[in-house]
Symmetry: C2
């Protein structure tokens, strides 16, 4: 839904170079909304508009542009202005953008940045993708513990301009080691006693992460301890940066999307569906399709063992897809429920007894129901009502074993330290398909011989 409300006016302002009006446009609205109103402009036009905003706000509005627009501006607009913009961007987002620019452009831009900013960029670039270091920002409200509340407020009002938001105030010693945290609420509560020291106010039991920690572990902590931001410290407790709530939401979203993709047997894309290279997409899907292909191939071999039954009772063939899909669907349901419940922390491997017994009850219910449906149908197809019993008995057994395999495999993979979402589906599908065939024809043998 492109927002075209202000487009004609904006174009006109640009044409007449109406500085005052453009400035008004940039400052009047919430920065996110301002960015939305510019979606219909070209990247170059929106940059012309942005130049009328003060540098801090300019960066803020720029942050809401989509990736293509951002890269267009950073790649093709005036180098000095682009470097100024980079200097204003939050350090974590800046590094992500730089990774996407052409190498020669990066050299040009970095040359125009102050040495301290260059160092900051290089340091953040050194952390591997998917770690705490790669998503942290180095802009932190950092104060030393010997300050009084009065001094702290003065110092903060100086720092405030450069900081995105003041989530917490991080209290450090002379060597930049994290000693405690003071929340904005605590600081304001202490206004009645402005001579008290930060070291008296601060909470000293600080939950922090290492820059090498996995980003999912970071998100888990932030959620568990209900934090707005989590500090990142090195082994010596030196404060390196913070990870803010918006990055945590991104991590949660990424993690769960990857889970859904893994459950559907796609290696996680890690990129936008529309931007990913097609060969890479083919690879990420092909590898699992191939594994699943070989799993399904085993059903062909299994079927071969029953060629006599197949020839004598040709009507059994008609129900092969039905039997296999009933097992596969109930298995996938079970596996998905266990996987999503483990991801959200609702259950863990040590609950396995409860899980298995609950699943046994549910699968008997589901199996009996499908069996009774299947019986009605098979009465019309089977030569006699005794043979018709093959279908319901098979369905009941297949659904129960599908569910049991479906809940067991994710638990086993989790227990072995493997990703349950990644491994379960192909194995569940493979095992349940073959089980389906084996059960089907053995039931047929038993009933009809």
């Amino acid at each position: 839904m492109l927002n075209t409300l202000f487009l004609p006016e904006l174009r006109e302002m640009l044409e007449h170079n109406s500085a005052e009006e453009l400035q008004e446009f940039c400052t009047a609205l919430n920065p996110g909304r301002t960015a939305e109103y510019m979606e219909g402009l070209t990247a170059a036009e929106s940059w012309q508009v942005l130049l009328h905003a003060p540098p801090g706000l300019r960066a803020e509005i720029f942050e809401y542009f989509d990736l293509d627009r951002k890269l267009n501006i950073l790649n093709f607009e005036d180098t000095t202005e682009a470097a100024n913009l980079l200097a204003e961007l939050p350090s974590d987002d800046r590094v992500d953008l730089i990774q996407e620019l052409s190498e020669s452009r990066v050299v040009d831009l970095l040359a125009l940045l102050p040495a301290s900013e260059r160092r900051d960029i290089r340091r953040l670039q050194s952390f591997a993708e998917g770690t705490a270091g790669a998503i942290m920002t180095s802009e932190v409200a950092k104060l030393t513990e010997d300050l009084t509340v009065r001094q702290a407020l003065e110092e903060l009002s100086k720092q405030a301009e450069e900081l995105e938001t003041i989530y917490y105030i991080y209290v450090v010693d002379q060597d930049d080691r994290l000693r405690g945290i003071v929340s904005g609420r605590q600081l304001i509560s202490a206004l009645g006693n402005v001579e008290s020291r930060l070291s008296d106010l601060m909470e000293t039991d600080v939950i922090a992460v290492l820059p090498t920690d996995d980003q999912e572990a970071v998100a888990e902590r932030v959620e568990r301890y209900n934090m707005l931001a989590i500090p990142v410290v090195d082994q010596g407790r030196q404060l390196l940066g913070i990870i803010t709530h918006d990055d945590v939401i991104d991590v949660v979203r990424e993690e769960l999307t990857e889970d859904a993709q893994r459950i559907a047997a796609v290696a996680p894309l890690e990129e936008s569906y529309l931007r990913i290279n097609l060969v890479r997409l083919g690879w990420k899907r092909g590898i699992w399709l191939t594994i699943l292909f070989f799993a399904a191939l085993l059903t062909a071999f299994a079927l071969r063992q029953y060629d006599q039954e197949l020839e004598t009772y040709t009507w059994l063939v008609l129900f092969i897809p039905l039997i296999i899909s009933a097992g596969g669907n109930s298995g996938t349901q079970s596996a998905t429920l266990v996987i999503t419940a483990m991801t959200s922390g609702d259950l863990s491997v040590r609950d396995w007894r409860t899980i298995l017994s609950r699943e046994l009850v549910v699968s008997c219910m589901l199996g009996s129901f499908l069996a009774s449906l299947g019986f009605v149908v098979s009465l019309f197809v089977a030569p006699d009502s005794a043979s018709a019993m093959v279908i319901p008995i098979t369905l009941l057994a297949v659904v129960i074993s599908g569910c049991m395999v479906g809940v067991t495999l994710p638990l086993i993979f989790k227990r072995l330290g493997l990703d349950p979402a990644l491994m379960s589906n192909p194995f569940v599908a493979g095992i349940v398909d073959i089980l389906g065939i084996v059960i089907y024809f053995n039931v047929a043998r038993a009933v009809m011989h």
Copy 2:
């Protein structure tokens, strides 16, 4: 992973009723960590410990207990103390807990609460599950616009005790109508000029939601505009409360988990897997298994049309499961990729041309690869190499049509305003299975006649 580090000490302190030490235990650590150390205690024991914490902190630690422990305490501990605890809890969480208590207990507890709190509870209870109203909290830092910065800070330091965290300061007029927002950062930046008024500092273009808005729409806005908290206002812009970042993370998690469950053809549980009633679980799964059963039943009817081929070329039967699963798997992959990309905002229905053409390329790659694998296998099984061609041709056609159906259906459902995650899988499975059978036997006819 139960944390048993302090358990023996805690039990000993309780036995000797060592008030000082218990108080020290409650206050020394981060509240979340304190709660973790109590996981090994019974609910009654942990409540005995908590009674040594000051009321505000007591509620904070209590918040980190799991649901069972919370309900145990609220249900069975001293009514007056339990009511005091309720009064301290954040208003949104309090309402969720009250919903789970026995009716007579709720009456007893509410009777002990101040009238204003009772009114607040009743008001929050009136909002339907899944709406903004149901997840908002009514504790807000609210100030009137005519205050100066100095007055605002004084007022805030009075309010601060009762507020969880000060995310933003909401500026209202005499009728409690939301006029603007001042961030903590802005307030602190303005310390140099304490006589300036809030009305000069505040941002007036405030993004807000209605209490009846869907919670997913709320999360989407908070993410899009990168907010710590979003205000909830009524039609007349009266400020009712705020929704904070932790609730937004919960919504995102819930939404994506439901997506994964829907993709696996389970109606979203909306409850913990271990707590949900088994009959309800059976229903949520059974309804889709039944639909999928009837879809699979159609394959039996389709197969019946080809009984002549089945009798003449019995070897074709061996590959039925393989063909069906190749189509089903590639279709599920495509559907899941499109669904997750739409949920995360990466693509929308208007990208359909790009999606279809990209999918055509990828499915040709995947289909050709599986076809070549299938050809090698079928050479061993088929009576002659000409007949063996049936398998690769079918695989290629089935994978391509599986992928195309897989991407098309979610787009269509989205376009129709239906939930693509809910509807796609059964339809994709059903259509692709039948397509598989039809393609298979028509290819067989064409090649072998």
